[in-house]
Symmetry: C2
Subunit: 285 residues, 2 copies
DNA sequence: TTAGATATGTAGTAAAATTACATAAATAAT
DNA sequence: ATTATTTATGTAATTTTACTACATATCTAA
């Protein structure tokens, strides 16, 4: 749905622009916020070009004209990439670091939303539905993600289990067969043990699904790779948010599985939900 | 930071508007997308009012005028709350349910960002730093969240552990002392075992931090409650996204702890990061 | 019923954006 | 190198859009 981020489009086409349009581009990129609030005249002045040049610049990016351009620009500012200067620094207090952390997570989610391959998602859903067994593997932070996945897919009455011990993982991978799906979660995709395990599983004819960084050794070994490229946390204070992205992708997959199962399957989900009711205090209402 | 969502503001003030402004409001709310693309004249016509009425309507919402209003409207469409009609339905395919799931997660994150109590976050950070021991407790889906928290806080050289077995939890709670922090994660805050465990811990003088629904039994029992109210998933297909919100709040807390520790602490974090390096294949670059 | 206040619309004005056209710069061909 | 042709940019006029000041209508309360 959502068209690609306008700011990125401008950055990408920066080398292809002619002189005046380039000037406009740089002014817009340097401070997009104020650009959305300027008139075409002020922007033209700031860029040192004529008003029609600004107008032509706008039309390059599939917009109707300047006002429409500002609108789209505002939207891309709001939806994504409040990237610049949103890093936590040592002077921050609660009121500033809290929204920064949350916004950065939101940004990352927006990025995958716009970049994830729907075809691959479909393929993975296929694999999960047809699997004889599903193993979710992860180490370290991804271990918790694997756990969550098990919890989620268990509800679908699928034969799932979850392992975060790499000896166990290795043993299971080496006894895997065709029809078994090894769903391997890894932020970097370069942890040696994990990569070896993927290799073993592949060699036994099992399906390996990698939820990991694109072009990583794990991704290259996978039958289907779901690429997640979250900008590296160069900043010491920024938490690793690929976990979050991984979890949300698992949500997407779970939804895909549910939908594929069709409405006949809903009563089963309802049953599981209800099984937990007696363990709860009633809500007041 | 981010001002409150314009669409919500309009909806909220709907009863306080006078006749013509109400007409405009309804037209805008019925189809905000096209509203952002209309001129003041077309919008006035569609609402059956005069242009200045539209203009006055805009100024009510702290905007400079119609163009500014459209801008802000576009931003709130992009940034948040695409609330209405973003539910997954059985006819959806990958290309539609994928963004829906991700957007709904984003919405929920935006909501907590704008509603979380910074004072409470601060308090919790205080408690975590001064704790003699920290226990992360969770059951079911929250078990995975607790696991993630352990992994994260372990890196701070804090005495943490994580438990997702309620018998173990109960034993630990009953041997807790002053200075021990029980960080209890629960989506509903009404699971009987969890609530009892919180009660036991409190009675022993331990600190209980509840990451849970506001006004739930668990929240009421907690020394400090971090409220997370994610709209209930009435929709069968929508995954529970409170987990995600919980994780991100834990990220925020972790950041708070790091910052409070000061820059002297950074080498320690670096050391942990480096300890993992030998387990990885080198990146190609 | 009427005075005051509030709400809405009309018409004129100002601002903003776009178009058509002219000039300038760059590229290619001789 | 010079000219022809294309491409890029700017000028000025036009059109669209939004805003302001004011007038009229509607509502509220005495």
């Amino acid at each position: 749905m959502q068209s690609q981020n306008l700011l990125n489009m401008i950055t990408d086409s920066l080398p292809n622009l002619n002189k005046s349009e380039g000037k406009v581009a740089r002014v817009v990129l340097s401070d997009p916020e104020t650009a959305t609030q300027s008139s075409i005249a002020t922007l033209a002045k700031k860029a040192g070009v004529s008003e029609p040049s600004v107008n032509r610049f706008c039309k390059r990016f599939n917009t109707m004209g300047f006002p429409d351009f500002k609108l789209k620009l505002a939207m891309s500012l709001a939806s994504g990439i409040r990237s610049v200067n949103r890093n936590v620094d040592p002077e921050d207090d609660v009121t500033s670091y809290t929204p920064k952390i949350i916004d950065s997570t939101i940004n990352n989610l927006a990025l995958v939303r716009d970049s994830i391959s729907h075809a691959r998602v479909n393929q993975v859903v296929d694999n999960l539905i047809q699997a004889k067994r599903i193993y979710f593997f992860g180490l370290d932070a991804s271990g918790a993600v694997a756990r969550d996945a098990e919890n989620k897919f268990f509800r679908f009455n699928l034969p799932v289990s979850c392992h975060d011990d790499f000896l166990m993982q290795r043993m299971l991978a080496s006894t895997g067969k065709t029809g078994d799906v090894f769903f391997i979660i890894s932020h970097t995709g370069r942890t040696k043990e994990i990569v070896e395990i993927a290799e073993i599983a592949r060699n036994n004819g099992s399906t390996v699904i990698g939820l990991t960084a694109s072009n990583s050794p794990l991704a290259n070994l996978s039958s289907v790779a779901l690429d997640v490229d979250v900008p590296e946390n160069t900043d010491e204070y920024m938490p690793m948010s690929s976990r979050i992205v991984h979890l949300v992708i698992l949500d997407v997959l779970a939804t895909g599985v549910t939908l594929r199962r069709g409405t006949d399957f809903l009563p089963h989900l309802e049953k599981i939900k209800n099984s937990l009711k007696p363990t709860r205090y009633n809500s007041k209402k």
